[in-house]
Each structure stands twice: as C-alpha cells, then as structure tokens.
Amino acid sequence: MAKGMVIIDVERCKGCGLCTHVCPVNILELSPDTFNAKGYRPVTVTDMDECIGCAACATICPDVVFTVYRQRRQRATATA
C-alpha cells in the first residue's frame, strides 16, 4: 500500500523536469510519448505505489502541478 499519492495537473506542466531531480524515490519522469496542449512533455509517475507523499515535487514545482496526499499518521502507526 502506497504511503502517498500525487495528482498531476498535466495541462499546467511545462516539462522543466525539476521534480524528476528532487524526487527521493525516483518515480517521476517526463512523459516519453505524450504531449499536453501547450506542446510540453508533462511529468508522469512511473510507480505510484512507491510514493511516500513527501511533497518534494510540489515544493520545487514552479507551476503548481502537484496535489499531494499522504497516509494519516495515526493510521500508519496502528498498522505498523
């Protein structure tokens, strides 16, 4: 079960790739085969199960592409 989850607003993305450099679990990459309406290659998540919800991508994103969710803490300790 993933600890976190990101939702990507593909149309806002300008494909600068800053998030791909700061993601601690390396699950972000620029889409190799799709484009958004502005003609950029938007960022995509390769494996959402790996996401830890750290919001590093949202912190560095200049275009506010990400919405980040993270597992609730009390629930996390209960299952651990």
Partner: protein
C-alpha cells in the same frame, strides 16, 4: 485536474493549489524560480489570511504580469517605482497589507533610490526581491547584479568590472538603513532552501502586520533561458556560482522581529 482519481480514505491532503492564486497558467519559462516564489507568496497569504486585505505592487520585468496570477488587488508601478507607490498606498490605507514583488533590473538598477529611501524611512511595506543576475524580460542583458566575468547579450566577453563596475549587493546595503527591520537573502534553488525561503517570506509579512518596519526578502533565482542552461543545471549554477558572491543569511533582524512566531 484529474477529478476522476479516487482518494483512498486513509489519505490526508498534504499539498494543494493555494487559494490566493488564480488558475491562470503563468507565462514564465519552464523551470523559472518566479513560479516557485509566486507559489510561496500565495501560500503565505493564505496562511496569514491576508487575501482580502492585500494590495500588491507589480514591477516591470519578467513578473510584470503578476497581477494575473493572484486573487488579490494589484497596481502596476512604473519601472523601479514600486516601493514609492507602495509607500503611498500604505500611508493612505494603513489597515491594508502592501507588498511589492520586484526583480533585480527593477529594484537594483532603476529603482535603487526608491528602495533605499523606502527602507530608510522604515515604511511599513514588504518587498520580495528576485535576483537572477540578468535582465530576463528584455533578452538577457547585463544587470547590476550580473556576476564578474558572466556572459550576457550585452557583455558577450563576460562582465568586465573595470568598465561595468561590480555586482551590487542590495541586502547588505538595505541592512545598513535604520528603518529596515528585517533584511534577508535566501535561495530558491533546492528543497531545503525553498522551505527556508517560505519561512523568511512569512516573517517578512508578519513584520509588516506587526508594524515593526520595512522588510525585504532577496531570493537568489535562476534564468534558464538567458543563461542558456536546462532548468536543473541553472539551479545548480545559481547555487554554485551566485551563492559565493551573494552569501545567504539574515542581514538585519530586529529583536522584535526575532521574537515573531513563524
């Protein structure tokens, strides 16, 4: 946004789009730190609940269209005159929150007199100053903050300090004025510094709300387009080349500002 995605029940929201910002797409180049600082300003306006009582002063430069991106009132100032306009706004509307958002071509070149005197008078305004060592909007000409030896379109052989003078350190200058309450220089180039930068912006805004004096946050930024680099490379370049000349740190913080809870 993809609204069809199901959010599992045990997930809580960690980060979402700031309410103080409009959904307009910014005109900035991919990877520009302007976008990051806009977002931080939006987050701080949200957190301090300032949206309905803020008036921003837009500069001339890349961020000239900033009024399109915020859900707060804005006025557009003549080149470099944002602190002068903000002074008038604050004096006539003392209950409003007034901030200016300026670049280095605006604040450190044509607007040097305005910012120094606004700081010296201790005007109750807050300034966010983006320093990317170049004139971005007009095509990458040499700015007062361009580093020695740095190549720009108007200094193709690199900045020769014997002719063009030396890069101006605005935070150090502003910190010498009596009226300034909080002057700091931060970077917007990695996760850690961005988190620190947000705290600095919040402290600067609180300085004005508490009526303690003038506050200015200088942000070392990047310009991937005019530095001819990819965005990540420009972030590293900013960190490696700009930070030694423009040391990060707080240059002036009055005791009352230090006591503020951020």
């Amino acid at each position: 946004m993809n609204t069809t995605t199901q959010i599992p029940e045990n997930m809580e929201l960690v980060y979402q789009y700031p309410d103080s910002m409009t959904k307009t797409y910014t005109h900035y180049c991919p990877g520009c730190v302007h976008g990051i600082v806009h977002r931080l300003v939006g987050e701080v306006l949200d957190e301090l609940d300032l949206r309905e009582k803020s008036i921003g002063v837009a500069p001339v430069g890349c961020s000239v269209l900033i009024y399109n991106y915020f859900n707060v009132d804005f006025v557009e100032a003549a080149h470099g005159r944002a602190p002068a306009m903000a002074t008038g706004l604050k004096r006539t509307n003392p209950d409003k929150f007034i901030f200016t958002y300026q670049g280095d071509g605006d604040l450190a070149a044509i607007g040097t007199a305005e910012i120094i005197h606004a700081a010296n008078r201790g005007e109750l305004i807050s300034t966010v100053f983006i320093n990317n060592a170049i004139y971005g909007m007009t095509g990458g000409q040499m700015a007062p903050t361009t580093l020695p030896g740095m190549k720009t379109t108007s200094s193709p052989g690199g900045r020769d300090c014997k002719i063009a003078g030396y890069p101006i350190k605005m935070s150090e200058i502003l910190a010498q004025t009596e009226g300034a309450a909080y002057i700091t220089r931060e970077a917007g180039t990695d996760i850690r510094s961005i988190r620190k930068l947000k705290k600095a912006i919040k402290r600067a805004f609180l300085t004005q709300i508490e009526g303690l004096g003038f506050s200015c946050v200088e942000v070392l930024a990047n310009c991937p387009t005019n530095w001819n680099m990819d965005p990540w490379e420009s972030m590293l370049w900013s960190k490696e080349q700009m930070t030694p000349y423009f040391p990060l740190g707080t240059y002036k913080m009055r005791e009352e500002v230090k006591a503020l809870k951020v």
